[in-house]
Amino acid sequence: MQRYAAFGNEQIPRERFTSREFLELEYERLWPRVWQVACRVEEIPGPGDFVEYAIGDRSAFVTRTASGAIRAFHNTCMHRGTALASGCGAFAGEIRCPFHGWRWDLDGNSTFVLDAHEFPAEPAEDLRLRDVRCETYGGFVFVNFDTTAPSLLDALEEIPGYFDPYRPERMCFTTHKTTILPANWKVVVDAFNEGYHIATTHPEILRWKDDAALEYTPLHTHTRYGGAGWPVPSPRLGIPADEVDEQELLAFKIEDLVDNLPGYIGPAEAEALRAVARAPLPDGMTAGDFYLKRRRDGAAARGLDWSHLDDDQVLGGDDLLVFPNFIGPVIAGAFFGYRVRPNGMDPHSCIFELWTLEERAEGEPHTMCEREVYPDWREHEWGLVVEQDFENFAGMQRGLKNTAGGGLRWNRRQESCVRRFHEVLDRYLFDAPT
């Protein structure tokens, strides 16, 4: 098993995407030690509401206690090991094992053992459910199976610096979709961690975005790319500056985002924006000027304060990878995130979720949307852009099994975030825990 970091700029072995041994190493060295997004706070609004989070054979559930605190426990009964929570739902006041009826309060304290006198005496503390580290950031509930892990905020490092301005804590779910994709989980994370594929996989985006101008910022653990939000045709189209049609640009940008990437702009805003996609530009205004003004005016009308956000954050936002498996673009008013997990012991498929969030005005209620599950992604319309990405995955995984091409070659600039992700992964897999 070769670590990647040792290769510097050299080619990257393919086995990390295809071997069962590598997957097992991840289950042993990565997933038990890393903070991972389990759910959002709006999924568990009241005491006893719960969401299960499973990674491989490990399962925890997150619940809200009577006092409103959020806690997570290992999902196993202290009696015969039965899982206590499945999927999501609500405990009726107490956590109860469906097998023999043992019960715990929402803080994990044992409250009932049937025929307790027939068991050896044991301190009540020993019958407590076993805690899983659980902390929240920006409305996201994270868990970590490592009791000695640093705090979530320490582990997030530079992420809040990028994410905070968008106020993720004021956002809530607009879609929650799950499917199985036919590729290793890292193939999928990598696919969303660069804009180098835009020109070939999403050529329609070239009409309004300078894809080559995206800035890549590999951080210490996480990654960020973004910028290039101002609508201009990609230089790959060769259109001279004096032949750019600003009216066309406006329509290309709005219609592509709203129609082909539903959820990237939240539904409350999308319709209003769509309505002005072909509106005549006021004299002297470029597509960028007009788009920016409409977004800012629309936000103000919905009671959102974006006065602290700069134009880049309103136009283009930031694509963030919260290591290891939560990735996606955040812009003013909305987040379009993917949570990706390995699918059991199969290195050739993964569990993929699309989470879209939209900002709510202060005081507006935060609600949970319907959860949709599509075992086969082709059963559902995801929007052109996401489907273009999905179309690639089966061929990527199939090709990776073929070792004839040697190692993989990554673009030194545009795939620098992909490189960083694998370097960090290798810290977990191959460096001794500190």
Binding site: T200, P203, E204, L206, R236, I239, P240
Partner: protein, 95 residues
């Protein structure tokens, strides 16, 4: 404005390249990216209709959604004809 003297059976993109021009493309002329799409301004009756492959690519062309009354074709697939007049931005002399 550019007049191209296309050889028989030659695509518009191939004729432009042979005559020393670059035509915008990402996929290199494989009917995959749609970046080479041109607007047919006149002479459309003289050209062959698009194949199923070309039609599939044209169907998601952003330009077609924006201007449904205009005729778009892929320069990498459209074979030139006498009197054909097309509009395309970004066609430049090579070097």
């Amino acid at each position: 404005m550019l007049e191209l003297d296309a050889a028989a059976g030659e695509t518009v993109m191939a004729a432009a390249r042979r005559l020393g021009f670059t035509w915008p493309t990402v996929c290199g002329g494989n009917a995959e990216c749609g970046v080479c799409a041109l607007e047919v301004v006149a002479g459309g009756t003289a050209i062959a209709p698009p194949t199923a492959e070309e039609s599939a690519r044209l169907s998601t062309l952003p330009e077609r959604r924006l201007y449904p009354d205009r005729t778009y074709r892929l320069a990498c697939r459209l074979v030139g004809a006498d009197g054909l007049v097309v509009r395309k931005r970004g066609v430049m002399p090579s070097d």
